[in-house]
Symmetry: C2
Subunit: 243 residues, 2 copies
């Protein structure tokens, strides 16, 4: 399973076609009046980042909030010794860095692009003003925070309640299959993550992930071909994850 090769061209492709689509298709401001919408859009600064770019870092004071227009962003947290765990992989339309922008406390997580991304940034002052003045925006923020909390709870569950490696990996595969819209009925999906990153997402070492995945393959629960994964025996996988 190798990381998907990402053409550097993607970056520039998105530069061309995404700015117009971002606001319309993301659905973040569809309820705003046209005039109000224009005013708000003017506050945001659209930026483009290559792969592996850093949006913000754990421990850093918040500069503002981020609306992801295109691409995927990895949200992670790391310890002093360099170990890190992945909390979430955010997709287009998600607001990032909210809790810090709201409280003013340092970011508790870091955000790093996994692919070339288009990101709309808003300074903290403007963000807070928007919260005060635009109730519709507040509701969007509330929805995002609610989702973030669910995700965080899910991670607490996999890290805290799933002690065995098989549980963690099974949960991870099923979660990913459920979230990925590209997942077909046969439960085929593409994991744009390395074993290392999967390990960070579930709280194991790289080697243990390899071993567990190999074990699943042996037991004919999954098939793998590079980053492609097919879930063959979902019921058994679910029973493993429920344990």
């Amino acid at each position: 399973m190798r990381r998907l090769p990402v053409s550097p061209l993607n970056h520039f492709e998105s530069r061309e076609k995404c700015p117009p689509c971002a606001w319309e298709s993301l659905g973040t401001f569809e309820k705003f009046s046209p005039a109000a919408r224009k005013a708000f859009e003017a506050i945001w600064r659209t930026r483009f980042y290559p792969s592996a770019a850093i949006l913000f870092v754990e421990g850093q004071p918040p500069r503002g909030a981020y609306l992801l227009g295109s691409g995927r962003v990895k949200l992670a947290m790391s310890s002093a010794e360099g170990k890190s765990i992945i909390l979430h992989v955010a997709g287009p339309g998600e607001l990032l860095g909210l809790s810090s922008a709201i409280s003013g406390q340092s970011h508790e997580i870091s955000a790093e692009t996994l692919e070339p991304c288009q990101v709309n940034f808003i300074r903290r002052g403007d963000f807070c003003r928007l919260l005060q003045e635009e109730p519709e925006f507040s509701l969007k923020v509330i929805e995002q925070l609610s989702r973030d909390y669910f995700v965080a709870c899910g991670q607490v569950r996999t890290f805290g309640l799933s002690r065995k490696a098989t549980e963690k990996v099974a949960r991870f595969l099923l979660d990913w299959a459920a979230r990925d819209r590209n997942t077909t009925a046969e439960m085929q999906m593409t994991l744009p993550l390395t074993h290392e990153e999967i390990a960070q997402a579930v709280g194991l070492t790289r080697e243990t992930v390899t071993r567990t995945l190999a074990d699943f393959k042996h037991r004919k629960l999954i098939l793998t071909d590079g980053p492609e994964v097919v879930i063959c025996n979902r019921p058994v996988l679910e029973s493993l994850s429920a344990a």
Copy 2:
């Protein structure tokens, strides 16, 4: 270290004196106009619960949101085999069950009183209407969700990044000391939790908590007398938790 004996009388005491103080002292609605505040207060139903009462259960569809007036509430999550982990111990003024009330998804955690509590309940329909109509309320909700997210991230950190028992317990003691306003300058505090509950809060077994605490006591990092704990050597404890 035994659980604090709680007089059943506390329950009735709070019934007598808390309703008036709750709204004023919690500071949740201080910015509302007097008229608006009265209208909102009328929506909430004040209830009293004894110790170990259940406010809501994991997996249950959300009925509404809860504003804790007095007492402490344990927020926990449990696995199929009965293991459970404590996410947070909420205190007066906190809003509970928000993320589920917002999204409509089943509660991802359970809430159980640790002491007799006064709780103000609002039905989900009223809650959502309040969100739509009262921006000040939205902001309160945003603040609470932001705090919840920080707490959840903290738990992800202790469960995911702290592998060793000493790290987890040291972090727990310092966190608790920082949060507890009754903590004196000498770092004395009262832990209203059993070893079992501490174990659930940091992801260890009851026995390991006992052993680790005994180890700390041996090393003169802490002193314990029943539920009373004194942190004697904070620097060392911090270095252990940072590891």
